[in-house]
């Protein structure tokens, strides 16, 4: 599981191989950035980044986990879009050592990953959401992340919305569900 879960759903994620998960939300750098900000003006961020390799190709999934589906979809999706975009930018800023020379918060696995052709996957994971509600939410999130995807040359197919079952199917949740 991730080391700083805020709720039962976040507690389900993992376990992942050592050094392959970067919990950006609880990172020291984010804390430092947000300590300088006024109340309510801090940088909103997703939960964590997960580095994986499949078929000889590396991918970094950025995961925002929510325990329930939205009531106001517009507001909700804008919030998720902001968190995923900020997470991507902050991760790359850290990787490029913009904040400290030895970017010690990143594991060697992340540091050694060649970012020029890594596949970024931007994921919203929802705990309680019927499958029939996922396709329109996914379309909405793709739309909201269109500019970010263009800027970073990320294929929009890599913007996805999963429920708990989908997160399990795709290996984001591997532990037995906690009660």
């Amino acid at each position: 599981m991730i080391t700083h879960p805020k709720n039962d759903f976040e507690r389900m994620f993992g376990p992942y191989p050592d050094g392959h998960c970067f919990e950006i939300e609880s990172s020291a750098i984010l804390k430092k950035i947000n300590d300088k900000a006024n109340q309510g003006e801090g940088v909103k961020i997703a939960e964590f980044l997960l580095l994986r390799t499949a078929n000889g190709k590396s991918s970094i999934s950025i995961i925002e986990a929510k325990s329930s589906a939205p009531k106001n979809a517009d507001e909700y999706i804008n919030d998720v879009q902001e968190k995923l975009s900020n997470s991507l930018s902050l991760f790359i800023a850290i990787y490029l050592q913009r904040h400290s020379k030895n970017n010690s918060e990143l594991s060697d696995f992340f540091k050694q990953t060649e970012l020029s052709n890594v596949n970024f996957i931007l994921i919203l994971a929802l705990q309680n959401c019927e499958k029939s509600r996922l396709p329109p939410l996914q379309d909405k999130l793709k739309n909201a992340l269109k500019k970010t995807a263009r800027i970073w040359n990320i294929n929009l197919n890599s913007v996805i919305v999963l429920n708990e079952a989908g997160a399990k199917k795709h290996g984001l949740i591997t532990s037995i569900t906690t009660q």
Partner: protein, 339 residues
């Protein structure tokens, strides 16, 4: 309004009992499952009841009107007995309740045109119901009338002929129902103009501002919307009319589908009953949202695994291949992201 309907051995429909019908009723299913067949079966029964005892012609019996209506609506190869389900040993039967009064009939495979078993307790109706087929009729208007009224040949069934004749009624001036006027405005906003019959040239024209366009070069979707507008304008449709719409989505942009359905809800709230057959995700989803927002019961009949399932959009999105396909595409998309 139609309260319920039961069919046995009616073409592809072996057995169907649909109770508790609402102001808007949705029929969904794949191609060839019998959606249009069901709509036509209900339409031919309702039109029979509307023609029976109307005006000064009281001579035709309901059985005669029905047999003619079935023959020209379904255009069977030889006789109306061909409408009986091929595998069935028992006769075809239909029973419905209109304004809580029973109308029922049945006949076997050997029936030529005389329907022996018919029971009618429905009071004579002054309302007109209509069937809006998937294809528009304005550009084929004269061809439909000629082929049916002069040549009397198969091709355009009664749903097309009835619609062409209904459209031919002159527009009526004076105060229309407020909701109908509002709906007409909304329909005209969707298409940016209106369609009018030009008596001088005997042709339909699409009028947009000061410009006039021949109906042949007018977009299919515009013509479909214009048909409903015209029927509200010439007062063919009134409160208590029943409108059967086959595939409202055909030729319409998703945004126009949504707007059309909003108008349908307004009309339904003021007495017109709708039966809509569709295989569009947009239609189902939009009606689901309307049902949820307005706390409106929208009964759904869906054909799946060789049986007709009943549900209500007020309670849930029905489990159906059309909806499952959108989920399947979603899953394919997610799998692609992790490849």
């Amino acid at each position: 309004m139609l309260n319920n309907a039961s069919l046995r051995n009616f073409g592809p429909i072996e057995q169907l009992d649909w109770q508790g019908l609402g102001n808007i009723n949705l029929i969904i299913g794949s191609n060839g499952c019998g959606k249009s067949f069901l709509l036509k079966a209900l339409y031919s029964a309702v039109r029979t009841l509307e023609d029976y005892q109307r005006g000064d012609n009281k001579q035709n019996s309901a059985a005669d009107i029905l047999a003619t209506k079935l023959f020209w609506t379904f255009q069977p190869d030889r006789r109306i007995g061909d409408l009986v389900n091929k595998q069935a040993n028992d006769p075809l039967s239909l029973e419905l309740k209109l304004d809580n009064r029973v109308f029922k009939y049945s006949f076997g495979k050997d029936t030529n045109k005389s329907i022996a078993s018919i029971e009618n307790h429905v009071l004579p109706r002054s309302n007109n119901s209509i069937f809006l087929p998937a294809k528009e009729v304005l550009s084929l208007f004269h061809i439909i009338l000629k082929s049916r009224e002069q040549d009397k040949v198969f091709g355009f069934d009664d749903t097309y002929l009835d619609l062409a004749k209904a459209l031919h009624q002159s527009p009526q001036k004076g105060k229309n129902f407020l909701e109908f006027s509002k709906s007409r405005k909304s329909l005209e906003e969707i298409i940016g103009g209106k369609v009018e019959y030009d008596d001088a040239s005997s042709r339909w024209q699409f009028k947009k501002g000061n410009q006039k366009f021949a109906i042949g070069v007018t977009a299919e979707g515009i013509k479909k919307i214009a048909i409903l507008d015209t029927l509200l304008c010439n007062r063919y449709l009134t409160k208590n009319s029943i409108i059967f719409i086959d595939e409202p989505e055909s030729a319409l942009h998703p945004e126009a589908i949504a707007k059309l359905l909003d108008i349908i809800v307004i009309l339904a709230n003021h007495g017109i009953q709708f039966f809509i057959a569709s295989h569009s995700y947009f239609v189902i989803k939009k009606l689901f949202l309307i049902a949820q927002e307005q706390k409106l019961s929208i009964p759904v009949l869906s054909y799946q695994n060789n049986e007709w399932l009943k549900s209500d959009l007020l309670e849930e999105m029905p489990d159906n291949p059309i909806i499952n396909e959108s989920i399947r595409l979603y899953e394919e998309e997610v799998d692609l992201a992790f490849k």
